[in-house]
């Protein structure tokens, strides 16, 4: 294994004294801000400079839980016993699933994929219930995109579609998309036009120069209208208003501005992927972005949620060839969203054992999926107690990545960033737990080395 998990750890401070960790990385959201200065006292973060409200809540509430590192059937147990039991659950299952991983460093994600491979299991990440549909859309039309620094330096028209960064990615505007002064935008916000398209007037809408309020479940129609307009196709104003809830003139004006800008950017969120149309919505948006490159430069980027959900996509893809929802039951990777994705393997009652890592399906999944998960033996790794850890056969309380442990995370634009741990935890890291489980899994199925 890579030693990078601990490489950037700083020496522990002596009691009572203050320690400052510069350029620490916040992993609470996909912005993955790597400019946080942490002040640590007595193994506690007391200040998180530059972090937003979500980031502060993340850093300042990391207090070590008053919980055992391992619980078996709800009873405190030794880690060794937990590892043994976990390995047995995974090996004995006929259809074991491993799910989550969006709040784990890549080093741990890699081990999770290994385990799935050894047990002929299914590996899926929270991508499947976040931008999985955008991943499918990407496989349909591709994507024109860029790193966030390009947005800073060139983006003069910034659009958000079905995304509310003011509440989900609070530093998005100030750090990357609206406010920064960039190489070719010396006046920052003044040099940019901001357009927000949403079904409700979110907190983000206040930041917009133009707010377009579309009908719920009409994202596809709105995007398709723009595609038509980009190609100069005449549209019926009555139909457009009826289908999108927005006047044709508004769409026409928007297209005019989109063509006139130098470097347009559309950030899109789960307003597209979670609603009727799902991947068709994302595909329409990616196709529109592509179309726009016949007139000017235009890029699109999903606003990814969790700190390392982008890393999960990358790790699963480089190891298996597919980004999420990967099944190994035939001894090699197969991919089929809607079949091997966790919402489906659970709701359809197929999985018979599992492991969840840094995710909470018992709170976030549909009733039939939750009911099924509650009925099968599974292992849960989380930093805190959640509905999912409560119902697990084996629950590990793990150290928090980016606070207690190092490693690598990928920002929403696929830029890999190292973590700088600041505190110590009595609990093992998820890398450690997964490595131990992998070792036992291999022994149980007769693989040496």
């Amino acid at each position: 294994m890579s030693a990078s998990a601990t490489a950037l750890a700083e020496a522990p401070a002596t009691e009572g004294s203050l320690k400052v960790i510069q350029d620490a990385t916040c992993t609470f959201c996909g912005c993955v801000c790597d400019d946080i200065d942490l002040t640590v006292k007595d193994n506690h973060i007391i200040e998180a400079k530059r972090a937003c409200v979500l980031g502060k809540a993340w850093f300042l509430n990391h207090k070590t839980e008053d919980r055992p590192s391992c619980l078996i059937d709800g009873q405190p147990a030794s880690l060794e016993a937990g590892y043994d039991r976990a390995a047995r659950i995974l090996v004995e299952g006929k259809y074991p699933i491993i799910y989550g991983l969006s709040d784990s460093p890549c080093e741990a994600q890699r081990v999770a994929v290994s385990i799935a491979d050894w047990i002929n299991g299914t590996i899926d990440t929270t991508t499947s219930v976040c931008h999985g549909p955008s991943g499918m859309a990407f496989q349909g039309v591709g994507e024109v995109t860029c790193s966030l620094g390009e947005v800073i330096n060139r983006g003069d028209m910034i659009m958000f579609w079905g995304s509310n960064p003011a509440e989900s990615h609070p530093r998005h505007f100030t750090k990357y998309s609206l406010m920064p002064k960039g190489m070719f935008l010396p006046n920052g916000r003044k040099d940019r036009t901001c357009v927000i398209v949403d079904v409700r007037k979110t907190k983000s809408a206040k930041a917009a120069d133009i707010f377009v309020q579309i009908k719920p479940r009409a994202d596809f129609e709105g995007l398709w209208a723009l595609r038509a307009l980009s190609k100069g196709i005449d549209l019926d104003p009555v139909q457009v208003k009826r289908d999108t809830g927005v006047e044709l003139a508004v769409w026409q004006d928007l297209m005019h501005r989109m063509k006139a800008c130098k470097f347009g950017v559309i950030f899109f969120g789960m307003g597209l992927t979670m609603t009727r149309g799902k991947h068709a919505n994302s595909e329409a948006l990616l196709a529109l972005t592509r179309d726009m490159n016949a007139y000017t430069r235009f890029v699109a980027k999903p606003n990814r949620g969790h700190g390392n959900v982008t890393g999960a996509d990358n790790v699963v893809a480089w190891r298996t060839g597919y980004p999420f929802g990967v099944n190994h039951s035939r001894g090699y990777p197969r991919f089929n969203p809607g079949e091997y994705t966790t919402s489906d393997t659970l709701a359809n009652g197929e999985a018979d054992s599992g492991m969840t890592i840094a995710c909470d399906p018992m709170a976030n999944f549909s009733e039939p999926a939750r009911r099924h998960l509650a009925s099968i033996p599974y292992i849960a790794l989380d930093t805190k107690e959640t509905p999912t850890t409560r119902a697990a056969a084996v629950a590990f309380t793990v150290a928090t990545y980016g606070i207690h442990t190092g490693g690598t995370v990928y920002r929403m634009d696929d830029v890999p960033i190292p973590l700088r741990p600041s505190c110590e935890s009595p609990n093992p890291s998820d890398l450690e737990v997964l490595t131990q489980i992998e070792r036992r899994v291999k022994a149980l199925i007769g693989i040496t080395g």
């Binding site: 409200v53 979500l54 809540a57 549909p133 907190k203």
Partner: protein
């Protein structure tokens, strides 16, 4: 007679902070159990802040507490709730071959459980 609304579950600041602070703590629980309703709808239906309502979708039923949506954040006919345990109970298991259940833009019927105290 319950009326049909479109429910949008989504992220909020308090919900996000609550994840870090603890999912069993009051702040998080309050946030994910609060339903934002457009002021216009509240007046029309005689709902006041703090009322409990029952939401019924094709796939589930929950009871939540009403808070008025701010200013013009919500158009009439639309409801908003912070994404979490409660909102997910209204979601179906079918992903339509996408891996993603329909988790936003869900049709729900809303009915008042008890009239507001006079």
């Amino acid at each position: 007679m319950p009326e049909t609304f479109i429910l949008i579950p989504g992220r909020t600041s308090d919900q996000g902070c609550g994840i870090s602070e603890g999912k069993f703590l009051e702040k998080y629980q309050r946030e994910i159990n609060s339903l934002q309703v457009a002021p216009g709808d509240m007046t029309r239906l005689g709902i006041v802040a703090g009322d409990r309502v029952r939401l019924t979708s094709e796939d589930g039923q929950v009871e939540v507490c009403v808070v008025p949506a701010k200013a013009d954040e919500l158009p009439v006919g639309m409801l908003f709730i912070a994404y979490g345990d409660i909102s997910s109970k209204l979601m179906g298991g079918d992903t339509h071959g996408s891996g993603m259940p329909t988790s936003k833009g869900i049709d729900v019927q809303m009915e008042l459980i008890r009239p507001a105290a006079v």
